[in-house]
């Protein structure tokens, strides 16, 4: 008998991984992927049979942790959000050339509509680019099933396998039937004598490995084809090509409206790379095709060249659907029928509601130290006569410093960009140049700029908002705490170039005076604003950390 539970997509992935005999979870927090690791960590504690979960300093390192565990012959998962895969891309692409030993599943959560991201890039394209197979589930149950299977596929193909989630699946809770038992982690052994050199990508070996990867593509496509099916081979000439959540919304639309699915000629995609022959056959059997897929018009772009005037394609390219943003049942309906749903809110009521509701933007928590730090920084710059000050910002709770009343930061590009951009601006003559970064983002990718800064004689001010926690994603414990001043000194910063301030209201006046002096000096400085996160304190995480340290 199978057991059923209510699980989020993220949780279903973690449970399946453990049930498949996973040894280790690695990752870097990022919405909406964070709960994969977090629920995995909890499940591991419960299973208590020698498994581990470890956050890394960034996604590249996390990926390499996973690759090492795979080398040791064990099954492993590395988790990240879509933009995290950019950070891990070097390792990701080359791990297709080395291949893997123990099953390696890359769990990536895309964020169409950018609920909490800077872009809506589509992981299917990066998987394609790296020749790495990707599975795309559409319900929590499929997340569970596909993840279980992904480990077998990974070991069979000797390649990493990506599970692509999107926000609506990662954060959706539904019924999931799970295996009765969790396999305990066992190693299939390290790479043997014949495979030993596969992992050494010097050109002479890499050339051969790359050719082998290319030659493996038919086998990869064959494996993926089990997830890609023509559901109804009816007589309809109206095609629907759907994948992932696109399929979920289409199926809901059909079932809620009692539509006979035979009305359509359906092709459902659950895995990539997709067999071109299958797409060609599908196109040849349709007069018109509607495409429902999340994020980029990826499948759509694949079929358009084969239509050749005989078949029209409606999707994101021809404007039938928006080019950006996530799908939903309403979008499917709007494409497939003309009927408008008349709900409770008519145009008149809509206008009245719109008039009132305004926006309720997220804010820094009442009393958060970031707020006091920003006040000190912006006031100090104003006091020394910097007009229209520009401050380079980064990714974390403190990004909210862009909003009133702070109006403090002027950039947020990607993880770790603040300090190097401040450096570049200082090189170009901006003085003082100021970059603001959180402690975890500093460890993620801000750190290397310390080394360049130490050697310079620029008026460059590297500011760390240090609360010893990854605040924004729900307060994870970072890989290290309190090391920035020591690192800076080791890199060549003198004692008087390193400052630690406490961002409390009663200290603001004092902090402003000190900053004014620092901002006038033509030398680099490291300024740490050190105060605990209120939410993490409420959850007693610091006490937990201290206990763990003893």
């Amino acid at each position: 008998m199978k057991k059923s539970k209510l699980l989020m997509g993220d949780e279903a992935l973690a449970f399946a991984a453990c049930d498949a005999g996973l040894k280790a979870f690695y990752g870097y927090p990022g919405t909406p992927s964070t709960e994969i690791f977090e629920s995995g960590e909890k499940y591991i504690e419960q299973l208590n049979d020698g498994r581990v979960a470890e956050w890394a300093a960034n996604e590249k390192v996390a990926y390499e942790f996973a690759l090492g565990t795979s080398y040791a012959g064990y099954r492993t998962v590395v988790t990240m959000k879509h933009v995290g895969l950019n950070v891990a891309l070097d390792a990701f692409v080359n791990s297709a050339i080395t291949g893997v030993q123990g099953g390696l599943v890359v769990a990536v959560a895309d964020d169409p509509s950018m609920h909490s991201s800077q872009n809506e890039q589509d992981t299917r394209i990066l998987a394609d680019f790296a020749h790495i197979p990707l599975l795309e589930p559409s319900t929590p149950q499929e997340v569970y099933d596909f993840t279980l299977q992904a480990f077998d596929l990974s070991e069979k193909l000797k390649l990493p396998v990506v599970i692509r989630l999107v926000t609506r699946l990662a954060h959706s809770r539904g019924e999931v039937y799970t295996q009765e038992k969790s396999l305990s982690p066992t190693s299939i052994g390290i790479p043997g004598e014949e495979e030993k050199n596969n992992w050494v990508l010097i050109p002479s070996i890499a050339r051969g490995r790359y050719r082998e990867l290319r030659e493996k593509l038919p086998a990869i496509i064959e494996t993926a084809s089990h997830y890609n099916t023509k559901i109804i081979d009816g007589k309809s000439k109206t095609g629907v090509l759907m994948a992932g959540m696109g399929r979920a919304y289409f199926e809901q639309y059909v079932s809620d409206n009692k539509i006979d699915p035979k009305k359509y000629n359906l092709l459902s995609i659950g895995a990539y790379p997709v067999d071109i022959k299958l797409l060609k056959k599908f196109v040849a059997s349709c007069d018109v095709i509607y495409v429902f897929e999340e994020d980029y018009p990826y499948l759509e772009d694949m079929i358009i060249p084969y239509c050749d005037g005989k078949c029209t394609v409606h999707g994101r390219r021809d404007g039938t659907l928006n080019i950006d943003g996530e799908l939903n049942v309403a979008a499917v309906r709007a494409v497939l029928e003309n009927k408008k749903i008349e709900g409770k809110v008519d145009d008149d009521l809509f206008a009245k509601i719109s008039d009132l509701i305004g926006i309720r933007p997220p804010k820094l928590c009442e009393g958060c130290g970031h707020s006091d730090a920003y006040e000190a920084i912006t006031t100090a710059l104003k006091n020394i006569g910097v007009e229209d000050a520009r401050i380079f910002g980064d990714i974390g709770c403190y990004t909210l410093g862009v909003q009133p009343p702070h109006n403090a930061i002027n950039t947020c590009v990607e993880m770790g960009a603040s300090l190097p951009m401040a450096f570049g601006a200082a090189m170009a003559g901006m003085s003082p140049s100021v970059g603001v970064i959180g402690d975890s983002t500093f460890l993620h990718s801000g750190m290397p700029t310390l080394l360049s800064a130490a050697k310079s004689n620029l008026n460059l001010n590297l500011i760390i908002m240090d609360n010893a926690i990854v605040g924004m994603t729900g307060q994870q414990i970072p890989v290290a705490a309190d090391i920035a001043p020591t690192l800076a000194k080791a890199a060549g910063f003198a004692e008087d170039q390193v400052h630690v301030f406490i961002p409390l209201p009663k200290k603001t006046k004092d902090n402003i005076e000190k900053l004014e002096k620092i901002f006038k000096e033509n030398k680099p400085s490291l300024i740490v604003f050190k105060r605990k996160c209120i939410q993490a304190m409420r959850r007693k995480l610091y006490t937990k950390m201290e206990k763990a340290a003893v």
Binding site: S255, V329, E342, G343, V345, L356, P361, K363, L364
Partner: protein, 195 residues
């Protein structure tokens, strides 16, 4: 559940109010009733007081969409009156709305609360509950929110008998007294609608 139509519930509130807890209680109740369920939530950076909402779809048939199509939802639980208005677009004509009338004013352009209440009272199917007053009366900070759930339960497609079990299970770690308080708050809300 009477018919085989999908039932859509929207829960809307502000970060920290317990919208997700309410959603999960309903989800659990429907699931225990043997129904198919799917719930999605949006809570970007909610610990800092932004809007939070959850959609729950309940059906005798398989549910695959985690979100409710605009204009088709059956019920809205508003933990905050302005948020109730914000999510009204998801509802069908005959839908019911159980909403708190106690505002959370943590935004710059919060309108006069009387205007909000006035607009709400012109909409069919709206039941407003002064949750702040209820919580105070019950000396139980979450009481108002649980009362909303009690009131909403009248319109949910699950059996009446499931709630005691759901609430007891959810709060079992917090002890008998807390369970007791929750059950009482739930009943108080339910009575308000039945009257």
């Amino acid at each position: 559940m009477q018919n085989d139509k999908t039932f859509g519930l929207v829960v809307a509130g502000v970060g920290g109010q317990g919208a997700i807890t309410i959603a999960q209680l309903v989800l659990g109740a429907a699931w225990m009733n043997g129904l198919h369920v799917l719930q999605s939530e949006v809570h970007g950076m909610s610990q800092r007081g932004g809007e939070v909402s959850a959609h729950i779809l309940i059906s005798k048939n398989k549910v695959t969409s985690p979100t409710i199509e605009k204009g088709t939802g059956d019920l809205l639980i508003g933990l905050e009156p302005l948020e109730a208005l914000r999510h009204m677009v998801y509802l069908k004509k005959e839908a019911h709305i159980i909403t708190s009338s106690s505002p959370i004013i943590n935004m710059d352009s919060y309108p006069e609360i009387d205007k909000v209440k006035r607009l709400l009272s012109t909409i069919n199917g709206v039941e407003m509950i002064n949750t702040d007053a209820l919580s105070k009366e019950m000396r139980f900070p979450q009481g108002g929110t649980i009362a909303l759930l009690g009131a909403a339960s009248v319109f949910l497609p699950m059996g009446d008998d499931i709630w005691e079990k759901v609430l007891s299970e959810r709060f079992k770690n917090k002890g008998e007294k807390v369970i007791e308080k929750n059950l009482r708050a739930f009943m108080t809300g339910k009575e308000l609608v039945k009257q």
